[in-house]
Amino acid sequence: MSNPNTSSSGESHGSVSSYLIGFVLAVILTVLSFGVVMSHSLAPTGTLAVLSVLALVQVLVHLHYFLHMGGDSEKRWNNIAFVFTIAFVSILIVGTVFVMANTSMNMMSR
């Protein structure tokens, strides 16, 4: 493990500076999320949209700086499994919310 990795040390498992950059970005994004909700400066739908974008960006920051995901060929199967999972979970969540909202509308429970 150690021998093959030393050649590409900074890239494959991060350095102090890359962790710090990731951490600072994550802190900024978290503070922004809290700030948007606590300040009540936007309409509810606008707040939700901003929150979603901030969460998505923060997840990407964590994937890149902490989990070291990238496009290098060595991690190809990791990425394929990841993309499959994201697709699966998206269908699961969007499908559940859509079907259940439709059901409750037809049952007039709301």
Binding site: S2, E74, T96
Partner: protein, 201 residues
Amino acid sequence: MAQNTTVPTAGHDEHHHENTVVFGFWVYLMTDCIIFGSLFATFAVLRNQFNGGPTPHELFEFGGLGLETALLLLSSITYGFGMIAAHKTQISSVIMWLGVTFLLGLGFVGLEVREFAHMIADGAGPDRSAFLSAFFTLVSTHGLHVTCGLIWIVTLMVQLMGTTEIPERMMNKLTCLSLFWHFLDIVWICVFTYVYLASMI
């Protein structure tokens, strides 16, 4: 023809041999992701079913949530420093960073348990409404994962004590725990955004 197809695969396998353990763990994390996805979907459906019980505005507070988030975020970077030390074979430094990560994680679990205890004492337990059932299931599943991570951290700290080098097997264990710990932080981003903040708008 048969040889032509087997030879490159064999070479391919050999080249990736050192990563199969970590890849296997990655696949496990992806299945865990599906568990959390199901629980998030359940929560999304039930989030407004209060049954006359307490609403998020009465239950959640920014202070505790912010502190929990800060602890988990800090523990992510301290684990990262531990991994950097591990790649440099500085074992005492690895144990120190794992210890810091453990304490931060323990603080997170402690705050969460205290929050749950307060809610249950106030009559807002998982049996009060569908919203609270979904809330407790989702958030405590994450808390349970963090607790398992804490046990794992202690195990690796004990295994590292008294050793002078980090063999490949140990490095794989540390890498898997690294993935697990950072993955839990990502799940927490979704929890504090969609479960807490989105309910407090």
